[in-house]
Symmetry: C2
Subunit: 377 residues, 2 copies
């Protein structure tokens, strides 16, 4: 549910524009293939719809232009659907949100395989995760933000690098362990708890010895939280007419740590139920992204009375911890102490529906789009 | 403008109740004198009115009961009017706010002189500041939270121990220097800037080399901020139809630090104008205290996008720094680099109007009530 990619995105979107130019200029003799793309048709207001996007097919040569340097040509394998992408569909004037460009492919996190490279750090057949295009093939010219995937773990699904082993994983890790200063025995509440980030925050908190409750929007998700993801308890916020009362039921002595993914009414109810010296890690506010006017939050005076620290963060802040994080989390996946739930749809043509579905909570677990890995190559 | 005395107040209100019992039990032979008191008639909703309080006169013997131990009998010299006191006029169920007791005197910070003591740390004629009753004479049986005033500085008004040298001073010092991690050259915005706390935050920030702008509610206060208190600029929020535009005018590159005293619409406008990695020190929200339903704050998503830390505090947290603070601030008062503006009314009978006046912004500077120091003793 992390929203915080805005600062970095400006540069990366420029990358894609450069890539298109480079492609057009290419005079390679290599195979030219079709390249399916998901295009944003126009800026969006309110809830995004599938029809705000269209799938179109262009052509691409599977070789970088001779003149290119420090570029890679990749085949995209998995694309990540993340709530922060909604902000990029706005025609925003705010400099820290780089909007998508109508008429061009969306961009986002993904896992990809290098087909050609003029960059010394990347070679053919390398696997990478990072920012790429919503298309079958992309040329990436700014590679600083890409992570190379080591081939040493065939037991781990590659798609995990869109989630637990990628940006959402680092979001959960940094936003919980680093920002919240959690201690054993503390009470932790996670909203959007079955999502890409929330399910990890809850499991990290359990590993530390916290009491953890999550909220989600269907009974299926609540069951998942309790039976598969190890939360102490969970509830369906859509069936709670009084969120304040619901939180009091699960946290009779109050909440030490709130991992905020939703905003609005839930935040208001949480503020009333926080304990003295509570911490609120503000990762995102998905309930507000599609509203033309956001809900007002009324209970902020609790921040004073309970000496609460409420802090927002962007995941980039924690990327220097990635090697340490990766070692920890791979070990925990292998020993079974961490589970990860994905919702994988097949085919780029289903990507618009998958992205839109995030905002109605259709996905159960991390929403991933798997591209048809064998086509065209 | 600090609101954060709630945790400590429960114990202190008990003190007053005990004191009343002790007085009743006294069989001293000392002079009995009249004791004027400000009584809360009933719990308050909405804006407090003078008629919510009444001044009545009882009798008190100016000697502690023989059986008392660890108590002091004081003559109150100055009483402090503070916004947090509004919360104590509510019939609150919240355990961290101890309400005043209708039918009994209000309590609050004050400066007093010891007339009698059965406590080894205090002797006759000592001067103290701390929590006392809104009356001419009080018996205080819990003395842990009192500070003894050293007599070594006759050049400093005693009333300053209700303000710059007391709780509001520590509030400004801790809430700005400790909580905000300010750096030279940063931009600082202070709301309620001519108040007991705000005027000090602004001066502390200037001493550090920050650019400081304050808001206040009259032209007189704005002039005070600019001409006497050394703010770089100031504006009258009541004459700004668009607070967002006003802040953009004074902070074209955004706000690094906001010292929050008012809440509501001002907070919403500030959030939009904060810079990346900004800090909001939440001291109080006086604009909201008299509303039956508080205003909703809509722009909290900025906390994520700009990685803002918003933190509430209670002044007690910083009291261990008092000796260091006192040394620094006395030197700065003496060398003229810090000024303090008080609004002193004379006589306990004028205390209800003075307290009520805080919420319409009638006071210019720290609101103090000076008792008639020569009467009855």
């Amino acid at each position: 549910m992390n929203t915080g990619l805005f600062l970095q995105l400006q540069r990366e979107t420029e990358v894609m524009a450069t890539a298109a130019t480079a492609t057009a200029a290419a005079e390679a003799t290599a195979t030219e293939v079709s390249n399916k793309q998901v295009i944003l048709k126009n800026y969006v207001s309110g809830f995004p719809k599938e029809s705000d996007m269209e799938v179109r097919t262009t052509r691409i040569r599977l070789k970088l232009p001779e003149a290119s340097s420090n570029a890679i040509l990749v085949k995209n394998l998995y694309l990540s659907c993340d709530p922060y992408m909604r902000g990029r569909m706005n025609n925003s004037q705010q400099s820290y949100i780089q909007s998508f460009t109508p008429g061009s492919p969306l961009t986002g996190y993904g896992v990809a395989k290098v087909l050609d490279s003029t960059h010394q750090d990347f070679k053919k057949d390398d696997l990478i995760w990072g920012h790429t295009g919503w298309e079958e093939y992309s040329i990436i010219t700014t590679t600083e933000s890409l992570f190379k995937i080591q081939h040493s773990h065939d037991d781990i699904p590659l798609s995990y690098y869109t989630g637990i082993l990628g940006m959402p994983g680092m979001t959960a890790y940094g936003g919980f362990y680093e920002l919240c200063s959690p201690k054993k025995g503390e009470t932790v509440f996670v909203s959007a708890a079955s999502g890409a980030v929330g399910q990890l925050v809850g499991q990290f908190a359990k590993i530390l010895g916290c009491y953890v409750v999550g909220s989600a929007g269907t009974q299926e998700k609540v069951d998942l939280l309790k039976n598969k993801l190890g939360f102490d308890d969970a509830f369906n916020y859509k069936e709670e007419p009084d969120l304040n009362a619901a939180l009091k039921r699960y946290f009779p002595d109050g909440i030490d740590i709130y991992f905020e993914n939703v905003g609005g009414k839930m935040l208001d109810a949480v503020l009333v139920n926080m304990r003295v010296h509570g911490r609120i890690s503000v990762c995102g506010m998905i309930s507000q992204y599609n509203l033309n006017e956001t809900e007002g939050v009324h209970n902020l005076m609790n921040i004073v009375m309970k000496q609460i620290r409420m802090e927002g963060f962007l995941v980039f802040k924690y990327y220097h911890l990635y090697p340490k994080f990766l070692e920890m989390v791979l070990a925990k996946i292998r020993d079974g102490s961490i589970t990860y739930v994905e919702d994988v749809v097949q085919g780029l043509e289903n990507a618009p529906a998958a992205l839109v579905g995030l905002f109605s909570g259709r996905n159960v677990g991390k929403q991933v789009v798997a591209l048809d890995i064998d086509s065209n190559n």
